[in-house]
Amino acid sequence: MSEPFEPKIIAFVCTYCTYAGADLAGTSRLKYAPNVRIIRLPCTGRISPMFILKALQKGADGVLISGCHPGDCHFTHGNYHARRRWMVFRALLDFIGIPPERVKYSWISAAEGVKFAEFINTVTEDIRKLGPFEQYSQLIEQTQASASL
C-alpha cells in the first residue's frame, strides 16, 4: 500500500513579523501541521518570485508567503512593493495554469501566533485535498530522464 500523501510546503516569511509570529506559535505551544519548511528572509520585499519557482522546481506541492501587515514593515514599505509584485506574479501563474491555490499569501504579525498556526493548518489541509502537484512533478521527472542518444 502506498503511503498517504503528505504535502510538502515551503513558506517564505519575513523575519520581523511572520517569523516572529511563528516563534510565538511555538512558545505558546500551539500545534500546527509539520508539513511546512520555513525559510526566513529579512523582508517580504526580499521574496523574489524566483523563490516560488525554485520551490516548485524542487518539488513543493504548495508555497506560502507571509510578512508584516501593510503599514507595519520594518523597512517601511518593503511589503507594499511585495504586494504589487505578488498581484502581478499571481496573475501570471494563473494564466500559465499554476493553480492559485498552490501559492498562498498572508499578512501575519509578530503577535499573531494563533493566526500563523491556523494559516499553516488550513493551507496544509487545502493542499492535501488538492493532492500532489502532479503536473509540475511530471515536468521535474522529465528532467531526470536519462539522455537517449
Binding site: M50, Y80, A91, L92, I140, T143
Partner: protein, 276 residues
C-alpha cells in the same frame, strides 16, 4: 509627396546638417514582403530607406546598443506608436536620454501608412493616450478567451505543449527592446535560478521569468512573438500581463518618459483580495 519620400528628405537634412549622427530605419529585406533594419550615417544613403506597411519591427531596441548614445549625439529612428512607448520606458528606466532621440513616427492601418507628427517622445502623448483609451485587444481574441476559460489544468497542458517547442534560443529576449540587461537572470549560474536545458521544466521557468520581467513594461510590439522560431504565442502572455497592470494599477506602459515603473513603485491602497 509620399511619407516615404518626406522622411527620406528629412533624414537627408538631418544627416547632412549634422543634427543626427545616424538614422535607424527600414531597408529592403530578403523577400519582397520583408524589411530589415537599416542604419545609415551618410546623407547619400537615404534612398535606401523604405517605409511601407511591411515595416513592423520595433526598432527602439537598437537605441540601447552599447556605446551608441554615449557621445551625446542625436540618433533618429523610425518608430510606430509601440516603439515610441518603448523609448518612453527606456528613458523612464534611465537607459537613454530621450532628448537624444529624434523620432520619425508612423503608424499603419491596413496598407496605409500615416505619419505621426512630432520629433521628441513627449509630442506623441496624445497618440499614446488614445491607444490606451482604445483598450487594445489581444491579437487573437478568440484563442485568448478560450485560454482564460480553461481550468488551470487545461491551461497548464496548453502551455506545456506550447513551451515544449521552445528551444531556448532566446530570440524573444534578443528581439525585445525591454530586454536590455547585460546579464540576464537565465545566464546567471551562481545561483542558477532557471534550468538552462530546453526541457519542459526549464522552458516553463524561462517563459514565466521572461513574462514576469516584462510585466508592466511590455508594449506589445510583437517583436518577441515574430522572432520565436517555433511560434509560441508569446503575445498572449504579454497581453494578459498588460491587461493585468492596466486593470490593477491603471498602468499603461510607456505613457511618458517620467512614468514610474509599475513594479518599482506602489500605492498604499493597492487593492487585492487574495492576501489572507
Amino acid at each position: 509627396m509620399s511619407i516615404e519620400e518626406q522622411y527620406r528628405t528629412r533624414a537627408k537634412e538631418l544627416l547632412s546638417g549634422g543634427a543626427v549622427k545616424m538614422v535607424i530605419g527600414y531597408g529592403k529585406g530578403t523577400t519582397a514582403s520583408r524589411r530589415r533594419p537599416l542604419f545609415i550615417s551618410s546623407p547619400d544613403d537615404v534612398e535606401r530607406l523604405v517605409l511601407d506597411d511591411a515595416c513592423i519591427t520595433n526598432l527602439s531596441g537598437y537605441l540601447v546598443s552599447e556605446g551608441l548614445l554615449s557621445d551625446e549625439k542625436r540618433v533618429a529612428v523610425f518608430l510606430r506608436p509601440e516603439g515610441i512607448r518603448a523609448v518612453n520606458i527606456l528613458a523612464a528606466e534611465s537607459q537613454l536620454d530621450a532628448e537624444q532621440i529624434v523620432i520619425f513616427g508612423f503608424d499603419v492601418s491596413g496598407t496605409e501608412v500615416r505619419a505621426l507628427k512630432g520629433i521628441h517622445v513627449e509630442e506623441f502623448s496624445d497618440v499614446i493616450g488614445s491607444i490606451k483609451e482604445g483598450a487594445p485587444e489581444a491579437s487573437e481574441e478568440e484563442l485568448f478567451e478560450k485560454i482564460e476559460k480553461m481550468s488551470p489544468q487545461e491551461r497548464f497542458s496548453f502551455w506545456q505543449e506550447e513551451f515544449a517547442k521552445c528551444i531556448k534560443c532566446y530570440a524573444c529576449r534578443q528581439a525585445c527592446p525591454m530586454c536590455y540587461c547585460r546579464r540576464c537572470i537565465v545566464d546567471s549560474n551562481q545561483p542558477q535560478w532557471v534550468n538552462t536545458s530546453s526541457h519542459s521544466l526549464g522552458n516553463f521557468e524561462w517563459n514565466i521569468v521572461r513574462a514576469f520581467h516584462l510585466s508592466g513594461r511590455c508594449v506589445e510590439c510583437g517583436n518577441c512573438d515574430r522572432a520565436c522560431p517555433v511560434n509560441i504565442p508569446l503575445r498572449l502572455i504579454n497581453h494578459r500581463m498588460a491587461e493585468e497592470v492596466l486593470g490593477a494599477f491603471d498602468h499603461f506602459a510607456g505613457m511618458s518618459k517620467t512614468q514610474e515603473p509599475v513594479l518599482a513603485s506602489f500605492k498604499k491602497d493597492d487593492s487585492e483580495t487574495f492576501i489572507l
